[in-house]
């Protein structure tokens, strides 16, 4: 089985792009399944179901979705193998710009959209920086100049990535993307022992552990303070 990890900011077009890519795979008779990771809520599973592919969803609830991803990806891969998939695609909502789900040795695709603003490439960190491929969506609603500026910033953050423009609505570019994703020779049985491409933050504060009260007395562990000048507060 092949595994491909998709990530990207909320509403950037991940599901749209994945569904268009899946259409190409279905035409090639490649058996695809998907797993969607989100935090509180998602309806994406219904969209995948409609496309007629096996789908599981996992909600991280109180946890950062990428941490949740790391603790669950092994089971997800077991599921995919049991379903005899040729290709398993995971979609993670990149809610925490500090973390990213990509694994060394597994293709990672970041989906970002032209509408999110030209400072987005700088802001979203490892999720963009350590991807192998970057799919830029929603080019149909911005100008050629905006597309070029956005793409050049993406390549400054991640010069090694292949950058492609994909229209999530019409599917233009999705066929081409699909040809770069599937590798007939890869047979992944397990991800045990594999490594995250980018370490997640190691810090924990008292609020991570359920503290709800505000005030100096309740803050333990790794707390970080804003910088104030003398007399400013």
């Amino acid at each position: 089985m092949n595994l491909i990890i998709f990530s990207g900011p909320p509403s950037s077009g991940k599901t749209s792009v994945i569904l268009k890519v899946i259409e190409s795979f279905q035409r090639r008779k490649i058996n695809v399944g998907a797993v969607k990771f989100d935090c509180l809520y998602t309806d994406d599973d219904k969209l995948y179901e409609k496309a007629g592919i096996p789908i599981k969803k996992g909600l991280s609830g109180a946890l950062c979705p990428d941490h949740f991803f790391a603790s669950n990806i092994e089971d997800v891969v077991k599921w995919g193998n049991k379903k005899k998939l040729d290709l398993l695609i995971t979609e993670s909502a990149g809610l925490c710009n500090r973390c990213s789900p990509y694994l060394v040795g597994v293709k990672g695709v970041c989906v970002i959209d032209n509408l999110s603003g030209i400072n987005t490439p700088k802001k979203i960190g490892p999720m963009l920086k350590s991807a192998d491929l970057v799919a830029i969506t929603k080019g149909d609603i911005v100008s050629q100049a905006e597309r070029e500026v956005f793409a050049s910033r993406v390549s400054a953050v991640n010069p090694k990535a292949v950058v492609m423009h994909i229209n999530g609505l019409s599917g233009q570019g999705a066929y081409e993307l699909s040809t770069m994703l599937y590798d007939e020779k890869q047979h992944l049985h397990s991800v045990q022992g594999m490594k995250l491409r980018f370490p997640m933050p190691s810090a924990m504060c008292s609020y991570c552990l359920g503290e709800t009260r505000i005030g100096q007395n309740y803050q333990m562990g790794n707390t970080k303070k804003m910088i104030w000048e003398d007399g400013e507060k």
């Binding site: 035409r27 960190g125 609603i141 905006e146 793409a151 910033r153 993406v154 390549s155 400054a156 090694k160």
Partner: protein, 335 residues
């Protein structure tokens, strides 16, 4: 790269400023160190705070310099002198009905056919420089040879610029700031001259003129369109421009096409408007996902175009007069 200081890197490759900025690396005060030593001295806490992984950065900087150098060199001497489309087949695997289609810079080719007939697939084939490896089986040659891989994979060397039907800008900047931003991303040397030229050309296309201080989001539909076309003609790096139907509102479409071809662009234009389609010397007819015919515009059609342009002119005058609150007089309109 190894032995160069950051100051030397910046001097030799000025565009690397963008790399440092976009990667949130604050190098001020460290210009005398080489890049590796700069990364070395960042403390671990700061690296974690800023989500920076120093391991791969030197290699990425090298790659960035390599790509940008190709890109900048390419613009100067590596022009696209011809685009060739070689036939594949339609959705039912019927071979396409032409031998080869060669398009040169400054030529306009119209694309006609019902919606969903395969126009965007044709465009995607060109964009991806297809090599019998897309669903149509077509191949694309550039300068009569197999296209270089950079046209596929490198973010700055895209073969096709697209003017879609969208008429609005999303970015919140003045015209001047907007053009500067685009020029900088292209590493253009004479930024100010280019901006002035684009503004002047855009104003020739737009009905009502606008200044460099106008916010791009408050331009009218026609003005936005004019700015997008002038900017694509003069500043876009892509040698091929694809146009998806130019609306007739508030813009001189003939001048727009003339501007694009004056900049040596290869223009492909999906349209059903006879005034545009007949301006092209050839048109591609698409049916069932395949190219059904490549037609030359005939002499009769060119004559017809002149007549239709006169009709168009009459309609436009009438519209202008109505807008100005006037009563229409046949002798004023049919001049």
């Amino acid at each position: 790269m190894k032995r160069l200081t950051i100051a030397q890197i910046l001097h030799q490759y000025p565009f690397t400023v963008e790399f440092f900025q976009q990667n949130r690396l604050d190098i001020t005060g460290f210009e005398q160190l080489c890049f590796e030593d700069y990364l070395e001295q960042l403390d671990e806490r700061e690296l974690e705070e800023k989500a920076i992984d120093p391991k791969n950065l030197p290699e990425e900087l090298n790659e960035y310099i390599r790509q940008m150098s190709i890109f900048l060199g390419l613009e100067k001497n590596n022009k696209v002198q011809s685009l060739t489309i070689l036939p594949g087949h339609d959705k039912k695997a019927v071979p396409e009905n032409f031998d080869e289609l060669v398009i040169l810079p400054s030529q306009i080719v119209a694309i006609v056919g019902p919606t969903g007939s395969g126009k965007s697939r044709l465009l995607a084939d060109i964009e991806w420089a297809a090599q019998r490896d897309t669903p149509t089986g077509r191949s694309i040659l550039i300068n009569n040879t197999l296209p270089d891989a950079k046209w596929r994979y490198s973010p700055n060397n895209k073969l096709v610029a697209q003017l879609s039907q969208n008429m609005n800008f999303v970015i919140d900047l003045s015209v001047k700031e907007f053009l500067r931003l685009h020029a900088q991303s292209r590493m253009a040397e004479n930024e100010q001259k280019l901006s002035a030229e684009i503004l002047a050309e855009a104003n020739k296309l737009a009905g009502e003129s606008f200044s460099e201080d106008t916010p791009v989001t408050s331009l009218s539909g026609g003005q936005s369109r004019a700015l997008m076309i002038a900017d694509t003609a003069i500043l876009s790096a892509s040698p091929i421009v694809l146009i998806d139907e130019i609306e007739n509102a508030g813009i001189d479409r003939r001048k727009a096409l003339e501007l694009l071809i004056s900049q040596d662009k290869i223009v492909l234009m999906a349209t059903h408007d006879p005034l545009l389609a007949l301006m092209a010397d050839r048109r591609i007819v698409i049916r069932n996902g395949g190219i059904d015919a490549v037609l030359e515009t005939t002499q009769d059609e060119k004559k017809l175009l002149e007549k239709m342009n006169r009709l168009d002119c009459i309609m436009q005058t009438a519209r202008r007069e109505l807008r100005a609150g006037k009563t229409l007089h046949p002798e004023k309109i049919f001049v």
